[in-house]
Amino acid sequence: MNTFLAALSSGTSRGAIFALVALGLVIVWRGAGIVNFAQMGQAMFSTYIASTLITNGNSYWIAFFVALISGAVLGALLDILVMRPLSNKKQSELLSSESMRAAVPVIASLGILGVLQALAGIIWAAEERGFPAPAKQEGFTVAGNVLPFTSFDLFVVSIVTVTLIITTLFFTKTGIGLAMRATALNQEVAKLSGIRTNRTRTISWAISGAASSLAGLLITPTSNLSPNSLDLVLIVGFTAAVVGGLDSPAGAVLGGFILGMVISFVTFYSTPEDVFLAILAVLLIVLIIRPRGILGSKDARRV
């Protein structure tokens, strides 16, 4: 019973973070039609910034907000410096085909990931670091029994829930949210409606950058920070996004929790070596049975 509870609780707090990562991927996918493989590289980078601030004596919360802002700025910069010039290159021969138009930004994002990791290595990485949590990492005690659910886990789950609600409202209730959805769905019509699509795309990148920085800040206290430490998180987050539906924010959340539970229960009840194979199995099953993801819309652009 204890094991079951532990698995459930670990799956919940992990799942919340994977949901956030998946959400970041979904936002850029919807906003710019790109799967951003550099996303957790950006998160790693802004978490290092936070870590440096804390080491230099600043409070956790200052570091927290600076990291979110720098995540957003970094995201916007990457769009302006790399992705926008790339999308203006559509005339070139390499990008002339539909399939390559989808593939080339992925390649570019892998390049960005490499640059960010190398830079982080040059600037910060002599040692693997830890990262503090803003809440106690000791389990709640109920009837003398220590539950494997800590104040920090509670913090993670609530802050992720709030973020998800805000994001949903932003997309459905605000004009800029509508502009972003329109840009994602049909650029030409969006442009003809007077929407400055370059700008909305940059905003997508910024929001996604902030969301993934939040994920980085929330996941590093239970792991360690190094230039490559978030690589796995990205892969799990990607799987979560695909499982839920790459164009559906609600799907991202669902996918995140499914992956959190799968990983948690496999680790608790089977051997940890099976985790990657389990991730692969979940991904393949979903892609074969329902390629657009559980909540993905029917004509999701599967390019």
């Binding site: 004009g175 502009a179 959805r181 329109a182 030409e188 019509v189 442009k191 003809l192 409606s193 007077g194």
Partner: protein, 237 residues
């Protein structure tokens, strides 16, 4: 009002517009007719900034709009309804319409609501389906929606590309009528591209006949309509 001079647009080695000059007059319906592939749509797409011309000039109210991005050109008062009921099917009817007014929301908040209401008055069927996804509408409704999306930005010039495509004659008539009424009552200028020359020339004040990217005739609509030889040579009926 809108003046196009010596416009050349190329797609690779294919010349789609070859030295095209024409004007759209204020508060008038100007129609561009021609066979399939004559360059009619390209003309509209070049005006609205979706295609980049290789040469020539486009002047709007005395100012060059050449090289401006489509989203800026809309802001100057030229709204484009591209071919094929261009709406976003994953968004609701309401969202599609309000999309066209997003850029005006800050400055003209009350006018945006008024404009939306006007659209529902113009096409009452859209009001009934406000919450539905655009993808669930019929072809005619989608065309109405596309036009509403363009009109809600309060343009002075409406570029309308083949509104009749794939629609039943009755629906076409209704749509063309609405546009015609709008032009006559509000002073909206319209540049109407049509393959169906009869319908177009029926409402238009002026007609431009394109063939293989070149202007072959530029006359009052009634004259064009009467010229049987031209019609036989370029439109095949």
């Amino acid at each position: 009002m809108l003046k196009v001079e010596n416009l050349v647009t190329r797609f690779g080695s294919v010349v789609a517009l070859d030295d095209v000059s024409m004007t759209a007059q204020e508060s008038k319906i100007t129609t561009v007719i021609g066979a399939n592939g004559a360059g009619k749509s390209t003309l509209l797409r070049t005006i609205s900034g979706l295609e980049h011309p290789a040469a020539g000039s486009i002047t709007w109210k005395g100012q060059s709009i050449l090289g401006k991005r489509p989203e800026e050109i809309v802001r100057l008062g030229i709204a484009h309804v591209p071919e094929g009921h261009a709406v976003i099917s994953e968004l609701s009817v309401e969202e599609n319409i309000s999309m066209g007014s997003l850029f005006r929301r800050k400055k003209y908040k009350s006018d945006v609501t008024a404009a939306m209401d006007e659209m529902y008055a113009l096409f009452p069927r859209l009001k009934e389906r406000r919450k539905q996804l655009a993808g669930t509408l019929s072809g005619g409704e989608r065309q109405m929606l596309a036009i509403s999306r363009a009109l809600v930005s309060r343009p002075q010039l409406l570029l309308l590309d083949e509104p009749s495509l794939g629609l039943a004659p009755l629906v076409v008539e209704q749509i063309i009528d609405s546009v015609n009424t709008l032009c006559r009552t509000t002073g909206l200028s319209v540049l109407l591209v049509e393959q169906n020359a009869n319908t177009a020339l029926g409402v238009a004040d002026h007609g431009v006949l394109l063939a293989l990217g070149k202007v072959v005739a530029d006359r009052p609509a009634s004259e064009l309509k009467a010229d049987a030889t031209l019609r036989a040579a370029y439109l095949g009926y």
